[in-house]
């Protein structure tokens, strides 16, 4: 696990070091550089596998191929003998060296043999080309920018902002999409000049020319069309167990982030079957809302006899928030990032690696909206049903309408296309509210980006929505949160539900096998029915219990008002001050709950002030 940085087309030792320093938290255990041959590469290392060896950059035997690598290759112990059979000799005991030899053996296609999470750069000095690769699902980050013929890349945006040639101009379309979704869907970022390398893609740079190529994509279609639920569950369990076994590989202690939900309980349960006592970690807040959650996590821990640790967070968020947003790197208004940070910080006292349940919701249908929107699509065939639901919705009081029941009914209502009803469920603010704050185009800015993903899959609304989440929400929100918040405290987070073999299998199951009815994650519950305690199997999906409104109305109240009405914010001219003032007023008087909108605006302003406006690095 590491941070990597580089410049193709320029040898600049000081600049590459400054870029690496911007991601120093990703790798406090060491650093390494290569400057020469017309390029500059750098990395900061967090040692997990082969701590004593494997210092990067790593060269091939003949010093023609060089790599800087961030991530973990879980199958490196299988790849090694395979590559040795083909005549490659290894000088380190680690996983990174396999990347070099795979490139020598298979060229760019070597990436297909990697099982794990990764972002890497390979410099092929004989062909004078640079290859960047990002793992299939976007677990590890990689950003790049083109400055004329030069290419700069880094694990985080901050490192690219250390390069004076990278323009800091905001992408206003991306900003609108951020307001709708609370994150910026890739490949754009909030900064116009900086792009994300999309998951499952390779980028090559040669003579100043850049080409982007996809090497893998999730295929949500009926590949295993004949499997019934029991068989699918049995095969899923076997693959999941294999994934957990692979994700245990580590030369340092590891633990599990346990929430009490079925995903992290599944990880804990599988791990508990293997040798060694599992360490589990849970976080809660002293506001009371998380008591149930903590108790459930404790029950799971007791069931599996883990070495359980829990921590209760008190107030102090106002002071910590600017630092947290800076660590998020991209503006990300997902409140779940806060507990993720604190639990990683807590776990870091005991372990260097944590396993999490992330990805299960996207892979196995953990979001109620999949099944509800599917039902909505089915109801559209009967006009009577939609108008009845429509009447029901308008008869509801306002706060019910925006609540859990209202969202479900809304998903069923009307002739609006799938995308619009999806946004009705997930959007941070309504289209009207967004336009009042930021002017047009509102939701329409997200339209083309999202509908391209929706229409990539045909026929099945559940698979359409899952694909959309695989392409946007998962890599640009969930995994950004997981990577940045763990890396902020130099802990490596691993996500066994996103092992690509497991993903390929589950994606190829018919939607009716994964989600036969309105519930969530039926397949996971069936697969682990003999492994998990009964109360966990019965547990319903809950929104992450972050006391957002309590924070905003309590300890963060002054921070929100001050930040959003400060002259610095007003002088940007991005939002209409009157509309902001109205949001704040209505929230203060308790007339409306604008918590998510305010959180989104607050996060953005803190990011603008602390990351984008941070003094540009001096040019030397």
């Amino acid at each position: 696990m590491c941070g990597i940085v580089g410049i193709a087309g320029l040898e600049h030792p000081r600049l590459i070091r400054r870029m690496a320093d911007a991601v120093a938290h990703r790798g406090p255990d060491g650093d390494g550089y290569f400057v020469g041959d017309g390029i500059s590469l750098g990395m900061r290392r967090l040692s997990i596998i082969d701590p004593a060896g494997s210092n990067q950059p790593i060269w091939s035997e003949d010093r023609r191929v060089l790599t800087v690598f961030n991530g973990e290759i879980y199958n490196y112990r299988t790849l090694r003998p395979f590559l040795e059979k083909h005549g490659h000799s290894f000088r380190t005991a680690g996983d990174t060296e396999t990347v070099v030899h795979l490139y020598e053996e298979y060229g760019d296609a070597g990436v297909h043999l990697l099982r794990g999470m990764f972002a890497y750069a390979i410099w092929d000095s004989s062909r004078r080309r640079l290859v960047l690769a990002r793992d299939r699902l976007g677990i590890k980050p990689l950003y790049y920018a083109q400055c004329g013929e030069r290419l700069v890349f880094a694990s985080e945006v901050k490192a690219l902002l250390a390069v004076p040639e990278v323009s800091r101009e905001l992408d206003l379309d991306a900003l609108q999409r951020y307001l709708t979704l609370s994150y910026v869907p890739g490949p754009a970022t909030m900064v116009k000049a900086i792009r994300k390398l999309p998951p499952g893609h390779l980028l090559t740079w040669h003579d100043g020319q850049v080409t982007l190529r996809r090497y893998w994509d999730v295929v949500l279609d009926e590949g295993e069309r004949k499997l019934d639920q029991d068989t699918a569950a049995e095969e899923f369990r076997a693959l999941f167990e294999e994934s957990i076994a692979l994700h245990r590989i580590s030369d340092v202690p590891l633990g599990v982030l346990l929430s009490g939900g079925i995903d992290s309980a599944s990880v804990t349960g599988m791990l508990a079957r293997m040798p060694g006592r599992v360490k589990t970690f849970t976080v809660g807040f002293d506001t009371g809302v998380t008591e149930g959650e903590i108790a459930e996590a404790r029950a799971v821990a007791r069931h599996f006899g883990t070495d359980h640790h829990e921590i209760i967070m008190g107030p102090a968020l106002a002071d910590a928030l600017p630092g947290l947003v800076r660590m998020q790197d991209e503006p990300l208004a997902d409140p779940a990032a806060i507990p993720t940070f604190y639990i990683c910080q807590f776990a870091a006292r005991f372990v260097k690696v944590v396993l999490t349940g992330e990805g299960a919701d996207e892979l196995l249908g953990g979001y109620p909206r999949y099944a509800w929107l599917r039902l909505g699509e089915q109801l559209r065939r009967w006009p009577g049903a939609t108008s009845a639901a429509s009447a029901l919705l308008s008869a509801m009081p306002r706060d019910v309408r925006s609540g859990r029941i209202g969202r479900r009914v809304g998903a069923l209502v009307g002739r609006a296309p799938l995308l619009e009803r999806h946004l009705g469920w997930v959007a941070t603010m309504s289209d009207d509210a967004q336009q009042a704050v930021a002017g047009p185009p509102g939701w329409a800015a997200a339209g083309p980006v999202l509908s391209a993903h929706l229409s990539h899959v045909t026929g099945n609304p559940v698979h359409q929505l899952m694909y959309l989440d695989f392409k946007t929400w998962l890599p640009d929100d969930v995994l950004v949160k997981t990577d940045r918040m763990s890396m902020a405290v130099s802990v490596e987070a691993r996500v066994p539900f996103l092992d690509h073999r497991l993903v390929e299998f589950a994606a190829g199951l018919p939607a009716r096998v994964k989600l036969p009815s309105l519930g969530t994650k039926a397949l996971l519950r069936r697969a682990l029915r003999h492994d998990l305690p009964a109360h966990t199997l019965r547990r319903r999906k809950r929104a992450f219990l972050v006391p957002l409104r309590r924070w905003l109305d309590g300890e963060l109240r002054d921070l929100v008002t001050d930040t959003l009405t400060a002259s610095a914010a007003r002088s940007r001219g991005l939002f209409r001050p009157a509309a902001i003032a109205r949001l704040l007023d209505e929230q203060r008087q308790g007339r409306e709950d604008h918590s998510r909108a305010l959180w989104t605006l607050l996060t953005l302003e803190i990011w603008l002030a602390n990351v984008l406006d941070a003094p540009a690095a001096a040019h030397d």
């Binding site: 395979f82 298979y106 060229g107 760019d108 296609a109 070597g110 297909h112 043999l113 190529r213 996809r214 090497y215 893998w216 994509d217 999730v218 295929v219 279609d221 009926e222 590949g223 295993e224 069309r225 004949k226 499997l227 019934d228 029991d230 068989t231 049995e234 095969e235 076997a238 190829g508």
Partner: protein, 370 residues
């Protein structure tokens, strides 16, 4: 000897079982009076007219239960009319019928067992009835023998006869049905069951292309899995190198066998649902044309592919292993040549069709003699 063959799978419908039974009926027809009772299917009239045995067609087989019922009534009539010496039960679904006939009229029956139909959980009880009640059971591989034994049939009642391929007398098709200079990796099989492993070969393609760039994966056969497989190819960026030919006639399939450089079918065993390759006659058909084959180490495939002699066996769940074997055969001409020759020799000498028929005839005689 008077023989009644009851089956729900029969040409002109396509499939391995279909052609196996037709060849069996044809082979036995010389010395015995063979009557086949089966369901109706498109184009059956012309097909039946050219056979050396009599075919009685009942209702279309799409309506499975009704068809089995109609077939049963018709079969009973034939038993009364002909008093056959022995019945061949072509599918376990017809087992209860054969068992009843045996009990009432004392006509012994020989049950055919393949793979899926005797392993699928939903077929468990009916397969048990059919197999345990049979005088003898003929099956296609050691893998299937174990599946039959699992139903409580004693091993002395089971005979494994490896099916062979038919040597066509005609000349080699002259045209290579693909672009010149392109090397062909071929699969032949219906795109109905995921266990056939087309998906894993497609996943292996990026690695194969890295070492043998001028290679095309040709998929002969059609079915509901095709859209998924096409998407899979697109998701890996190998669409230009994967060609879906669709369903092909015998001549066209023959031409593809001749045109290919490597034949591959990476079938896997699919958990409790029972999906698995019972044998894999397509390997023998490719071998017969002198082609080296790559097979998934699963089910009955090790009976059809002798590792290192007629082809290579691979881990069917591992695209890297598949890629490695296919790449070796594409890049090591001596190896490909040796395995192709070994395969052809085995297909002609050990797995000839007359040999199959002869061994089957012996089982029938023993069964008829009681």
């Amino acid at each position: 000897m008077r023989l009644l063959l009851l089956t729900i799978d029969f040409p002109p419908a396509r499939g391995g079982v279909q052609s196996l039974l037709a060849r069996l009926a044809d082979g036995l027809a010389g010395a015995s009076v063979v009557t086949v009772v089966t369901g109706a299917t498109a184009g059956d009239r012309q097909w039946d007219a050219t056979q050396a045995f009599r075919v009685i067609r009942t209702w279309p087989l799409r309506w499975e239960r009704l068809a089995v019922a109609a077939l049963s009534v018709r079969a009973l009539l034939e038993v009364l009319k002909q008093r056959p010496h022995v019945i061949v039960c072509g599918h376990v679904l017809l087992g209860p019928l054969c068992r009843t006939i045996r009990a009432v009229f004392g006509v012994p029956y020989v049950a055919m067992a393949y793979a899926y139909e005797i392993r699928a959980p939903r077929m468990r009880s009916i397969a048990g009835v059919a197999l345990r009640g049979a005088t003898r059971v003929v099956t296609i591989s050691e893998f299937s023998r174990r599946a039959v034994e699992a139903h409580g049939v004693s091993s002395s009642a089971i005979t494994v006869i490896h099916p062979g391929a038919v040597v066509t007398g005609g000349p080699t098709p002259p045209l290579r049905p693909t672009r010149r200079g392109l090397r062909v990796v071929l699969s032949v099989g219906r795109l109905v069951d995921a266990y056939k492993g087309h998906d894993m070969v497609i996943r292996a393609m990026p690695l194969i292309l890295a070492k043998a760039p001028d290679t095309e994966y040709v998929v002969v056969g059609d079915g509901p899995l095709r859209p998924y497989l096409e998407r899979l190819a697109a998701s890996l960026g190998v669409t230009p190198s994967v060609r879906f030919v669709g369903q092909a006639g015998d001549d066209e399939v023959d031409a593809w066998y001749h045109a290919c450089d490597v034949f591959v079918l990476a079938s896997r065993e699919s958990g409790v649902s029972g999906g698995a390759e019972g044998y894999g006659i397509v390997f023998v058909e490719a071998n017969l044309r002198g082609k080296p084959v790559v097979g998934g180490r699963s089910g009955g495939i090790p009976d059809a592919v002798i590792d290192g002699e007629t082809g290579l066996l691979v881990d069917p769940s591992d695209p890297a292993d598949i890629a490695e074997a296919v790449t070796r055969l594409l890049t090591e001409p001596d190896l490909a040549e040796r395995l192709g020759r070994g395969g052809r020799r085995r297909a002609i000498e050990d797995l000839s069709w007359p040999e199959y028929t002869e061994r089957f005839r012996r089982v029938l005689s023993e069964a008829a003699a009681g």
